[in-house]
């Protein structure tokens, strides 16, 4: 695909997406994940809504699932049991736990108070982010450590995007080898795979037409652009950022 073709994908009626000489890839604010302003792009009849989603806190729990003291500690701490079935999730009151590996989980907490990106321009950073509750984190880590486990703060490691709409699974299937049939990948399940060449953690929401895709921060701009390219033939809307919710 030529650069001109890449540009064309974002070149919309409004001409806002990809208006710069470098095309919209060059115009992206690096370090942030957003492509550009909210709007409608690609072919007519937007089949998908793409949006950045902000992660409040993300902690990687590791430990031996056969150790009751460890799993009990984790359940007490996060308000939900660690999911032991591969690629499943559990939910607590304000948190969700995703299975990452036989001894590894991702705890996502939803802090309603955490500010999100500017609604008028998803490329802009969160206006001001509260300091990490590091004392709370350290206490959790020490408590898990005492039970033979471990806790790593990976809040900033990943950036999340949501894809919603009848073509969401199709757009992912352009780049991801997973089987997105709801019988193979049911709602509220998660899976790790590749989106293009980029490692991704994918969560299918209870709304089976909605996915959250989490990728490494340094590759987020690249991944976002790849999703935009893959969405061009169905057409897509870019919505403002909102807090990531694992429901």
């Amino acid at each position: 695909m030529s650069d001109a073709a890449i540009d064309a994908i974002g070149a919309t009626a409004q001409g806002r997406f990809g208006a710069t000489a470098q095309g919209h890839f060059g115009a992206m604010a690096p370090g942030h994940y957003g492509a550009s302003a909210s709007g409608t792009y690609g072919a007519a009849g937007a089949g998908i809504v793409l949006a950045p989603a902000t992660i409040a806190t993300a902690w990687n729990v590791q430990g031996d699932p056969s150790s009751a003291v460890f799993t009990d500690q984790a359940r007490t701490m996060f308000g939900a049991p660690l999911p032991l079935v591969p690629n499943t999730t559990t939910r607590g009151a304000a948190s969700a736990i995703l299975w990452l590996g036989p001894r590894s989980w991702l705890v996502l907490q939803e802090l309603a108070s955490r500010p999100v990106g500017r609604a008028d321009d998803v490329t802009q950073p969160a206006e001001e982010v509260a300091a990490q509750p590091s004392a709370e984190f350290d206490a959790h880590r020490d408590a898990l450590s005492a039970q033979g486990g471990a806790l790593f703060d990976v809040t900033a490691s990943r950036v999340a995007f949501t894809l919603r709409g009848p073509h969401a699974a199709t757009v992912l299937a352009a780049q991801c080898p997973l089987d997105f049939d709801p019988r193979a990948f049911p709602p509220t399940h998660c899976a790790q795979s590749l989106v293009g060449h980029i490692n991704a953690l994918i969560f299918r929401h209870a709304d089976a037409q909605m996915f959250s895709v989490m990728v490494a921060r340094s590759m987020a701009a690249d991944a976002w652009h790849g999703l935009c390219v893959a969405s061009a033939s169905t057409g897509y809307d870019v919505a403002p950022a909102s807090p990531l919710s694992i429901v």
């Binding site: 591969p86 790790q192 795979s193």
Partner: protein
């Protein structure tokens, strides 16, 4: 493109995996004599037929796995967790 059954995640595309070498050789004890380490590092078979290999589900659950692959046909014959040997039914 191979389809490799991850014992945790189910059948997954080869692109999610990283090859990790021969799983039939046993790493010597740390204090084993140099000659034994030499054999381990340099003396490898090139078998024709079913062969056990290490693969890591690197873009998935990051588990290292034993995968039995037929070197003649490229067929994947089975896989197992690290602590779960693949049986000797070859």
């Amino acid at each position: 493109m191979l389809l490799i059954p991850c014992p945790y995640c189910g059948p997954r595309n080869q692109v999610e995996f990283t090859y990790g070498g021969d799983a039939t050789v046993r790493r010597p004890a740390n204090d084993a004599p140099q000659a034994q380490w030499f054999d381990y590092i340099y003396v490898r078979d090139n078998p024709c037929g079913p062969h056990d290999e290490w693969w890591q589900h690197s873009a998935g659950c990051r588990s290292w796995l034993r995968v039995r692959r037929d070197t003649r046909t490229h067929d994947i014959l089975g896989s197992a967790r690290v602590d779960d040997p693949l049986g000797d039914d070859r």
